[in-house]
């Protein structure tokens, strides 16, 4: 197996990975950086983010407001020292992107424009029409091209972390075009591989969002934190699951049921605000968890609209007018028109909640460090405990930047302390990967189909681990996912070619998703309370006595994982009431 020697390996070349790479290259130009991704950087799912990125910039806003919005939005499961660091770094990172050429929308005087977003007390969401993630990704990618110390390994599929004496010392990966394995030897590894939303059948996530980075760290012994918190975005297209950005509501779009009633007022987010005059932190500008839960209740009451794509509610943007829609929401306009045949200028568009984002991930601290020395993580794959039990829209694009950079700085500090290692010490670990892949190619007793197992996993997650959960359903989910993990050991590789074998990649991705799915279900079963995006029909209240804690899931080989807990860091905001009613203070 060929060896690539480098200083820092980054796994994943989306927003977080690229930001980390640039920070490394700028701060320590002599370091060799290997940027590994299973896709070309501009294909990374950061490109699909639409609405924008939050950072305090306007005179009427304050760091305090952003702090409290984020902590309350996360139902007090955020680590407040992390939130504090984040809110102060956020505007700097967004300005840095501005200096790198990001085409942010502007005010008439040339300053950066902001728009309202759900759960935010002030307008603080920087945006580039409704293609904010796309522009952030391409700005970072294009900026990264000027640094000679960044060596990209595009379409290399990351396989296993190389551990030695408890430290992370590199990674094995497959060159997808040839099927050849490489070992990357490094002093530190940063995982920035994205979330795992594809474990659910109905998701805004692209096909590549299969949690490979999360599973890689989990297999190497890193705990996963708060995995049970899965965000449903309230407004997805009912057939493809494509996201219709929260900016639809930020700009003034309203949600109605089959009676034409703005039903959010019936779920603590009223009183009704005038159409076309959105009020911050009220009605349609409530947080995503509350809005998706309100849909579920409307469904139970029979208030949803039956469409050929299933039960929906309506997102009505007609009153915004053609000019504003074309200017501020061109992508939404196009998506609804082409995939659903609805012109949002003329008609309300049917929508329903869709799996969008994982609050949980590889456990990291505010320095983006995992408990494994030499292993750092940033972005959706990490749980740095910024988002708590529910992420506010427009915080995640900034999270990529703030903690991508922080992971790079932490890695640079860590490099000073790493003892030298003889290259041959990692050969045995690397060979384990080789054997794992060869076993798939050489097995003749494979009986389980990849697509069959994947379907069962997705159906289980939707049925048992959805917006509302209960003990019996979750227990069934845990049992089923555990059974699927066992059956996965007999999965059949149909395609035996070595060249760009997507049958093989999908099998590897399924393995990653099953690990993630098990952590989600086990965490959800153990958390006997309702908080943010984790809602239990059998434990309807938040329980700060027992569960003001992070769930930590530890992999135990083929057995069920072990669960323990870590206290939440509370600095200045004791747990309180989340108030999204119109008369909140």
């Amino acid at each position: 197996m060929e060896t690539v020697s480098t200083d820092v390996v980054i796994v994943g070349a989306g927003g977080a990975g690229l930001r980390a790479a640039i920070a490394l290259a700028e701060t320590a130009p002599t370091l060799r950086i290997a940027l590994i991704s299973k896709v070309y950087p501009m294909r990374s799912h950061t490109c699909a983010a639409e609405g924008g990125a939050a950072g305090v910039i306007k005179p009427d806003d304050s760091f305090d407001f952003h702090f409290h919005d984020t902590v309350g939005g996360g139902d007090w499961l955020s680590d407040q020292d992390c939130v504090e660091y984040f809110i102060h770094e956020a505007p700097k990172e967004l300005l840095q992107l501005e200096h790198w050429g990001c085409p942010w929308n502007r005010e008439a005087d040339g300053s950066v424009a902001v728009r309202p977003f759900g759960g935010m007390k002030k307008q603080r969401t920087w945006f580039a029409a409704d293609k904010s993630g796309f522009h952030i990704l391409h700005t970072l990618f294009q900026t990264s091209l000027q640094f000679p110390s960044i060596t990209r390994f595009d379409e290399y599929f990351g396989l296993d972390l190389l551990m030695h004496d408890g430290r992370c010392r590199g990674i094995t990966a497959m060159e997808m075009r040839s099927g050849e394995l490489r070992q990357f030897h490094a002093k530190a590894v940063i995982i920035a591989g994205g979330g795992a939303g594809r474990m659910f059948p109905f998701s805004t996530n692209g096909a590549i969002k299969t949690g490979d980075g999360i599973a890689m760290a989990y297999r190497a012994g890193a705990p996963l934190k708060d995995m049970e918190f899965v965000q449903y975005h309230p407004t997805g297209l009912p057939n493809t699951g494509s996201l219709l950005t929260e900016a639809c509501r930020g700009e003034g779009g309203i949600l109605t049921n089959k009676h034409g009633r703005r039903y959010l007022q019936d779920y603590g987010m009223g009183p009704e605000t005038p159409v076309g005059k959105p009020q911050l932190k009220t009605m349609e500008l409530g947080p995503r968890d509350r809005l998706s839960q309100a849909y579920w209740h409307e469904l139970q009451k029979g208030n949803t609209v039956s469409t050929q794509w299933g039960e929906c509610v309506l997102l009505d943007m007609r009153h915004l007018g053609a000019k504003k829609i074309r200017e501020r929401l061109p992508l939404v306009h196009e998506l609804a028109e082409s995939y659903l045949g609805v012109d949002i200028i003329k008609d309300p568009v049917p929508i329903r909640p869709v799996v969008h984002y994982m609050m949980g991930g590889i456990s990291t601290n505010t320095a983006a460090a995992t408990p494994l020395p030499g292993l750092f993580a940033a972005g959706e794959c990490a749980c740095v405990s910024l988002n708590g039990a529910n992420r506010l829209g427009s915080n995640s694009l900034v999270e990529l930047l703030v903690f991508g950079r922080r992971a790079a700085l932490s890695a640079i500090d860590y490099l000073q302390t790493v003892p030298a290692l003889d290259a041959s010490s990692l050969n045995a670990a690397a060979d384990t990967t080789r054997q794992r892949i060869e076993a798939l190619y050489n097995r003749n007793d494979g009986v389980e189909s990849m697509s069959g197992l994947r379907r069962e996993m997705m159906d289980t997650m939707e049925k048992n681990v959805g917006i509302y959960r209960n003990e019996a359903g979750l227990q069934e989910g845990v049992n089923k996912i555990h059974e699927l993990r066992a059956r996965y050991t007999r999965v059949k590789l149909t395609d035996r070619s070595r060249v760009f074998n997507t049958d093989l990649f999908q099998i590897l991705e399924l393995g990653s998703m099953l690990d993630c799915a098990e952590a989600v279900t086990v965490g959800a079963l153990a958390r006997r309370e309702s908080r943010g995006a984790h809602q239990r029909l059998d434990y309807v209240d938040r329980d700060d006595t027992n569960f003001l804690r992070h769930t930590m899931v530890h992999r135990q080989g083929a057995d069920l994982p072990r669960v323990d807990y870590l206290d939440v860091v509370i600095t200045r905001s004791p747990p309180g009431v989340r108030d999204y009613s119109g008369d909140h203070k």
Partner: protein, 247 residues
């Protein structure tokens, strides 16, 4: 939901086993509102796991799934079955080497993109503490359209010039050069024009306009290239015809 039996002729090629590419016919039941990518996914899931292609976002923004559909470069996630009543012919994006089946190697495009220096070049870096560069909505609109390129490479597949002379820098990369040239924050035009205003650059373009016709992001690369030619010509006139002229 209306369904229909869709016939796909997909060009297959595996360098391990095939001496040349060949078409394979798949028949698969599809919903009328589906896109070609949905049909391919159903084939892969239920008929043939050995079929290979790239895809991710399913909303025409990641640029992964470019392929030839009935001879035209298209994003398969944004090509609707309803527009194709007969047999649908699916082939890898033309003008790029094939790795396997519908997967092509974009190395040449990646190299050219880097060569045009698609990033802000500022003579003096402004400290973050000094805030943003002011840029009016009018200044933004000068380049925004050209910043929408998703790097899907359909324009390279459509460009007859790129097919004939592979050293041509090509529509997307040149458009991104123009995008930065037009950005009020940038001072790198001169550096970029050394790559752009050359025989391999804009002067290779014969203004067929196919790039703009196939662009799924309405970037209109053809207009960017024409503007670049004008800029290049003015630079040339200033340099060669005006006394003491420097572009």
């Amino acid at each position: 939901m209306k369904e229909r039996l869709v016939q796909l002729d997909v060009l297959r090629y595996n360098p391990d086993t095939d001496t040349e590419a060949h078409f394979q016919r798949y028949e698969v039941m599809c919903q009328e509102e589906w896109v070609v990518l949905d049909a391919l996914n159903k084939v892969k899931e239920s008929i043939d796991p050995t079929l290979n292609y790239r895809w991710s976002c399913h909303m025409a923004v990641c640029g992964s799934c470019g392929m030839m559909i009935n001879g035209e470069p298209k994003l398969s996630c944004h090509t609707f079955l309803r527009d194709y009543p007969g047999v649908i012919r699916v082939e890898p994006l033309t003008h790029f080497p094939v790795e396997r089946d519908l997967v092509t190697a974009p190395d040449d495009f990646m190299e050219k993109l880097k060569r045009v220096k698609p990033y802000v070049i500022a003579k003096q870096k402004k400290p973050i503490e000094e805030g943003e560069y002011k840029q009016t909505p009018a200044q933004l609109m000068k380049f925004r359209q050209y910043s929408m390129c998703i790097n899907c490479m359909l324009c390279y597949a459509a460009c007859p010039e790129y097919g004939l002379t592979p050293h041509f820098v090509g529509p997307a990369a040149l458009t991104l050069a123009h995008r930065y040239n037009l950005d009020s924050r940038d001072e790198g035009r001169k550096e970029r024009m050394e790559v752009v205003a050359t025989k391999e650059g804009v002067w290779e373009c014969t203004f067929v306009g196919a790039c703009s016709e196939v662009c799924p992001a309405q970037v209109d690369p053809a207009s960017a290239l024409q503007q670049l030619k004008i800029v290049g010509s003015i630079d040339w006139i200033v340099e060669h015809l005006l006394p003491g002229g420097k572009p």
